[in-house]
């Protein structure tokens, strides 16, 4: 194979295999699903939190996990910025975070920290 032929095939390949832009519908759907995954992770943690609160042995872990929940609620910030309808859910999540923080604060007082 000559260099010229090789060059031509590569040129054709570059022309044929151009990058393909993902459709907007996919971008919206994917970003929504990724955001939901973050929210689900946060909600699962919150559920575990509330259950664990009944057992004093978990109070220490509860306070630490509350911090993780706060972080999870703030993830994928730019993705969220594209999804205005998510703001309402984020507000609800924030209220949940605050309630967890209140409980954590109460635990710390009880433990004398």
């Amino acid at each position: 194979m000559s260099d010229v032929e090789r060059f031509d095939v590569e040129r054709l390949l570059r022309s044929a295999l151009v990058p393909v832009e993902p459709p907007v519908s996919l971008v919206d759907r994917l970003e929504r699903r990724l955001t939901e995954k973050v929210d689900i992770a946060a909600e699962e943690l919150a559920d575990w939190e509330l259950g664990a609160m009944r057992d004093p042995r978990n109070w220490g872990r509860t306070a630490a996990a509350g911090m993780v929940l706060a972080a999870a609620g703030g993830t994928l910030v730019l993705v969220r910025a594209r999804q205005q309808h998510k703001k309402r859910q984020a507000g609800a999540l924030k209220a949940l975070e605050h309630s967890i923080e209140d409980v954590s604060s109460d635990i710390r007082k009880r433990l004398g920290r």
Binding site: A16, V68, A71
Partner: protein
């Protein structure tokens, strides 16, 4: 998850978001050229990122600072393999929406160009799987030998040979298509 402190988790999600924004087009392009239609390419892209999100922490930890694009493409590669295995499908390549020419009233020159590129895409689609994938990564995603090697789980040397043979086989098939 409870083992992560808040700063780590936030940083991890920021990094994933960066990976997503940087390589969404790469994953979609790869998926499209693997499966040959937009509908399945969308599904494949979606599943790739959802799976990547699930394993991102470990991948980042084990990458030791190396780019994660090959890891991402490898996920798409594995999912595409499942796609074919589960559905007993063969890859199909369509030119209409992917590339090149979309003139409503194409000139003869454009028609000729389009036919030429259709032949190339058909030739690529008929290559063995590993050769076809290597060409997609090289030309559609502009990946270098090192990245392709990581995505395919091969050495760089083996990848270089793979791409060389893929181009040569494609060239031979294009020559065979030419009228005598």
């Amino acid at each position: 998850m409870a083992e992560l402190v808040d700063g780590d988790k936030a940083a991890l999600d920021r990094d994933f978001e960066e990976l997503y924004k940087s390589h969404l087009r790469d994953v979609y392009s790869y998926s499209y050229y693997r499966v040959g239609n937009h509908h399945d390419a969308e599904d494949l892209t979606e599943q790739t990122f959802l799976q990547a999100y699930r394993h991102f922490e470990r991948a980042q930890r084990e990458s030791q600072g190396r780019p994660l694009r090959p890891w991402l493409i490898r996920i798409a590669h594995n999912l595409a393999a499942n796609y074919y295995r589960d559905r007993s499908r063969k890859p199909q390549t369509q030119l209409e929406d992917a590339a090149v020419v979309s003139e409503p009233h194409p000139t003869d020159e454009l028609v000729e160009q389009r036919e030429e590129l259709e032949e190339v895409l058909t030739g690529v689609a008929n290559l063995p799987d590993d050769r076809r994938e290597a060409l997609i990564m090289r030309f559609a995603l502009d990946m270098d030998n090192r990245e392709i090697a990581r995505a395919l789980g091969r050495t760089e040397g083996a990848t270089k040979v793979l791409i060389h043979r893929a181009i040569r086989q494609l060239e031979e098939s294009l020559k065979a298509e030419e009228p005598a």
